[in-house]
């Protein structure tokens, strides 16, 4: 990838540049995935502070494994395999450290009402996600936050693609059942 063209490169191409030590490429990857990884950890663990630390850990582990990365592997799948492993490790260590997610300030470029409405909906969703069974929550997050295909999730979690589809369906059904208020 030529210098300055990193923004137009695919995730896999950017990752190959990272493996050569490019700071520009790493910055680009962070721009593309930091939010998704942070949200994945936050929703998986319901701990904002731990999510922050794990996001850093996840990207550092990605760098440690960078030379072993081959572009035949889809980058998002590779990254979230690391993230998922970290999430399970963390949860087994710190299940008891639950705390409420802090409410962020609304961003400057939208009306306060709409911003509050969005925050409230997001908060409700966090609550409902926290109440889901592990397997359903995991599939929902890998599909929605990470944007992975069912086949990729199946390989990652060691279950057939059909099982992933059933879990996703069930997760959505449970969310709809448990969502109180203005869903319908």
């Amino acid at each position: 990838v030529a210098h300055g063209e990193i923004r137009n490169a695919t995730d896999e191409e950017v990752m190959m540049e990272v493996a050569r030590g490019s700071e520009e490429a790493f910055d680009e990857l962070l721009g593309r995935y930091q939010r998704k990884v942070l949200s994945f950890f936050s929703r998986f663990l319901q701990e904002r502070e731990a999510a922050k630390d794990l996001t850093q850990e996840c990207f550092l582990r990605l760098l440690c494994a960078a030379r072993r990365y081959r572009p035949s592997a889809k980058f998002s799948s590779y990254l979230f395999t690391i993230a998922r492993r970290l999430a399970y490790d963390e949860r087994s260590k710190a299940w008891h450290r639950r705390e409420e997610l802090p409410r962020d300030m609304p961003s400057r470029d939208e009306a306060p009402d709409r911003a509050l409405e969005k925050k409230e909906a997001a908060r409700r969703l966090e609550e409902v996600l926290a109440s889901l069974p592990d397997q359903e929550r995991e599939v929902f997050l890998l599909s929605e936050s990470a944007g992975l295909r069912y086949a990729e999730i199946g390989r990652m979690t060691g279950v057939p693609e059909g099982t992933v589809a059933s879990r996703k369906n069930r997760a959505v059904r449970l969310i709809r059942e448990r969502w109180k208020g203005d869903w319908e």
Partner: protein, 159 residues
């Protein structure tokens, strides 16, 4: 959750999440889409799924600039190592090192071969000379019909 719609809606509802995730086989997509457009209940269900996706995306946490800066700071030494080509899987550098030493190794091998050749040649000459002596002895023996005394004196004369 209330589930409205006729019995024909049930199999369609099962496929809505697949459609949303782009996992529905192409041949089934048309049928489901056509049903959503004509059935208000399933259309509503579809809208609800789209709202859920939007909420999930909008509710993602924005990393703070400090969090990004912290990751960039921590990553700096690792990126430096990658630029140097150190760490696991740094095979290209190992090959490069071997290639740098190759001409020296080849030169050393050539010198060794030359030495071996010279040594071999000298040994061969010596053996040839010994063989000549034996032949000379045999000739004299045939002509004279007597045995020829061998010893240091003969060697000196021949050499």
């Amino acid at each position: 959750m209330s589930r409205r719609g006729g019995p024909e809606c049930e199999p369609i509802r099962e496929k809505l999440v697949l459609l949303l995730d782009g996992e529905l086989p192409r041949e089934a997509t048309g049928e489901v889409r056509a049903h959503i457009e004509t059935c208000p209940d399933c259309g509503e269900e579809w809208e609800a799924l789209l709202r859920l996706r939007r909420t999930a995306r909008e509710g993602e946490l924005d990393p703070t600039p400090e969090e990004k800066a912290a990751i960039l700071r921590a990553s700096s030494p690792l990126l430096r190592e990658l630029r140097k080509g150190k760490g696991r899987g740094a095979r290209p550098r190992a090959i490069h090192g071997a290639l740098r030493w190759a001409p020296r190794l080849a030169a050393a091998a050539l010198v060794l071969l030359a030495l071996l050749w010279v040594t071999e040649r000298r040994t061969g000459e010596r053996e040839l000379r010994s063989a000549d002596v034996v032949t000379y002895q045999e000739l004299l023996q045939k002509e004279r019909g007597t045995s020829f005394p061998t010893g240091a004196a003969t060697w000196e004369r021949l050499n």
